[in-house]
Symmetry: C2
Subunit: 257 residues, 2 copies
């Protein structure tokens, strides 16, 4: 039966299916919970039922329930506490998860430092313009404090931290959460990558401080165009200095070899 001829020869039947996905139980639970959380029905801090309660409700095993919760935890949707009155609490995802994934992307793909600086050149001037428009008094205070920390000659780590604080502060002053998350990720990556390079000397520090102050000034005066211009110069200059230092490193490495 059904022994028809196959005209084209390629396939005997006209029907064809694409690869199908069979979701895992833990994914199903995770998706369900994620949708409920993202729908906004639960306020930040709302506790999910205890694991054993979820087991009863879903009729899944505790293993499965726990994997689902773990997924949500990694995605930054819940925070899990142990002990009595512990459990999974709803969290509003912040910039950290974006930052983490960007950091993974950068490390995992062995991305060149130049790409990082290039990306900063795209984001930071724009952030500066937003900051000039939207900055609050508190934002300005954060920027000033970061600059003061830079002025205080400290260790390399302290300088780098203060540097990051200022740049992230500019992004925060722009009050755009997406850009803010992106800048956190970039900064974190640049911080770790620059920690090894040794091109940060006193000159670099004082140049950075001067640049930061001039940008901060423009932001304070709500002069968007000036903020963009100065930030562009600063970031571009920093990128070129880093590139030159990188060249030197490569060269001396070559000489070593």
């Amino acid at each position: 039966m059904t022994s028809e001829s196959t005209p084209t020869g390629a396939s005997r039947s006209a029907i064809s299916l694409s690869p199908m996905e069979v979701p895992k139980a833990s994914d199903v639970l995770a998706n369900e919970l994620r949708e409920r959380i993202l729908s906004g029905d639960y306020v930040e801090g709302t506790p999910l039922p205890p694991e054993r309660e979820l087991v009863v409700q879903t009729r899944m095993s505790r293993t499965t329930v726990r994997e689902a919760l773990r997924i949500l935890e990694v995605q930054g949707l819940v925070r899990i506490k142990a002990g009595r009155a512990g459990g999974a609490f709803v969290t509003t995802p912040g910039g950290e998860s974006v930052a983490d994934s960007i950091a993974l992307l950068i490390r995992g793909r062995q991305i060149r430092l130049s790409s990082l600086h290039q990306t900063r050149e795209a984001l930071e001037p724009f952030c500066a313009r937003l900051a000039a428009t939207n900055r609050t008094a508190h934002d300005l205070q954060v920027l000033d404090e970061a600059n003061e920390a830079i002025a205080t000659k400290g260790t390399l780590e302290e300088f780098l931290q203060a540097n990051v604080d200022w740049h992230v502060g500019v992004a925060a002053a722009g009050h755009n959460e997406i850009l803010y998350g992106m800048m956190i990720g970039l900064s974190k990556a640049i911080y770790t990558l620059t920690n090894n390079e040794g091109f940060v000397d006193d000159e670099v520090r004082s140049i950075a401080l001067k640049a930061h102050r001039s940008v901060t000034d423009a932001i304070r005066k709500q002069d968007g165009d000036a903020a963009v211009r100065r930030m562009e110069r600063h970031v571009h200059g920093y990128a070129e200095a880093a590139a030159r230092a990188d060249d030197r490193t490569s060269i001396s490495l070559d000489q070593d070899a």
Copy 2:
């Protein structure tokens, strides 16, 4: 023994400890594996040992091992296949994880569409400039194909997909993986959010098509400045149109209420 006087009264001993963190076993394993993967020792596709083998090696339970693997899977560092010859395979994290976290950020924080478009205004002109510099023949082909797909009057979904393809194509032509990853995230988010809004009519389509062609042209001619200028106009115009549509929606919603 050691019953000294305690002058300050605050503490009997000089040793003092800060709050300590007791990491979970699964996190320890996950961190260890993540470091090994990110160090680049394993090529894409390298299989990790089977779960039961990891149990033997680490002397942890299978539950713990599985949770660690699940963490890495969510972070996009491994891909887990079931069945014989299955297991966890090393994956180079791509833009998808960035895209996912951005999408979560946007949905979770109820971020306004305007923030999204604002972010595009920061990224896309810069991507266009990079594209003008770095585009290959293949990149241009992708852009042309996306434009053709837009020219073909299709369903709303087809239009949106082609639209996304073109914008992502520009980012790809810039050959900066970070910006590329960010654009994928933004595009995915914008895609889903625009799917509901009903402001895409024939006029919007033809305007977008024209703008895309002019930007593509500048990229083809490697005219960076023109690419930036035209992309700025396009994105800004689109953002304003979307904002107007959003206003209309809000107003009609108010009238409904």
